[in-house]
Symmetry: C2
Subunit: 201 residues, 2 copies
DNA sequence: GTCTATAGGGGGATAGAC
DNA sequence: GTCTATCCCCCTATAGAC
């Protein structure tokens, strides 16, 4: 069923090196990770990395582009669906926690380095993706208010920031394969977000 | 009424330099900020910094200790008060947003660098402060459930993480002196947290 | 309190051998 | 695809003059 010649996980040496780099960028930060760190972790010398990539920037560029193309494809599918407003909001939250589960390094890099990398022309698309993300959540919240599923007295902008922050920041403590699965966390989070923690309103 | 000889804001050259360093550490990260960056921003040469401080680490050490001593003093006062559980929880949230307003750089540094700095013996107190912070929120949540103010079906540990994350992550977008004041944000946040965003439960 | 000058190490990246 | 060897720049920190 697969067109790939190798049945192992890394489809190519290139992807293997990117995966190693992503883990280091996520844990130590992009600027604090040296090309020697990456090469050491891969068991080669730093000069050899330049056979595969132009620069350290090219590596993080490819990591972020690949991840974001996938994630925003999922958001688009939710926006285009015929489900009601509340179901769409729940799906967007679930998809986001699933992204943390499947691509924790990529999420962490985007969370921590977007502000810095966005300052370079090469990474101008990060600001576009950020605006696109805002558009997704604002649209879902506005549809929710219009349909009567969500309270009308909410500050939409603040609510958007609240959701965005709380969803992505979980990458700081979520451990794939741990006791708490991403879908359990998403359900608990939605419970708090939608109904609050107070006993009575 | 003041024992300070200078009426200006920075009580000493030392504090002025720490303030400059804090801003750079918060914006660029501790590891990515060089002593030359700090010296440039202060209008002196990097070697001159070492007349005031032993090292770059000493600077961030003093910044974090000063801030945390103040913050945890406020948490302790709330825990010791006679207010009911819900009021205490609200006060803890308000104090936290006020801390973001008054010490945004310090909050950002702690948020982004604690994991890295905590790896050094010198900064072992960061892990203790982290445990202390967890203890404060968990206590407040448990008191809330016991008193009947909060729902009994909550996962306390997850709820604590959501509150902690959402409160502190606001340092990423909050701008002191902007349209949204810290107390308005705290109230909106408490509305969402306590009552949820759904129209009906 | 700041400057000059510098030590000693690590940074990203390159050229060419194997 | 990796290694050897290296360039040039920037890093933290120090010693002593002013």
């Amino acid at each position: 069923m697969s067109a790939q010649p190798e049945p192992e996980q890394p489809a190519s040496r290139r992807e293997e090196l990117l995966s190693i780099a992503a883990g280091l960028f996520a844990d130590q930060g992009f600027r604090s990770t040296t090309v020697r760190d990456i090469a050491d972790a891969a068991g080669i010398l730093s000069g050899s990395l330049y056979h595969h990539f132009d620069s350290k920037e090219s590596m993080v560029d490819e990591i972020l582009r690949t991840f974001q193309d996938e994630l925003f494809g999922q958001y688009d599918a939710i926006l285009r669906s015929d489900d009601d407003a509340r179901a769409k909001l729940e799906q967007a939250v679930e998809v986001s926690f699933a992204a943390i589960d499947q691509h924790p390094h990529e999420v962490a890099i985007f969370q921590h380095e977007a502000a810095y990398l966005g300052g370079f022309e090469r990474f101008a698309y990060l600001a576009e993706r950020n605006a696109q993300s805002r558009s997704v959540w604002i649209t879902l919240l506005e549809e929710g208010v219009e349909s009567g599923a969500l309270r009308a007295d909410l500050d939409i902008e603040l609510t958007y920031r609240f959701i965005r922050d709380t969803v992505w920041v979980a990458v700081g403590w979520y451990r794939p394969g741990g006791k708490l699965t991403h879908d359990v966390i998403a359900r608990q989070y939605l419970t708090i977000l939608l109904d609050g923690i107070a006993k009575e309103r």
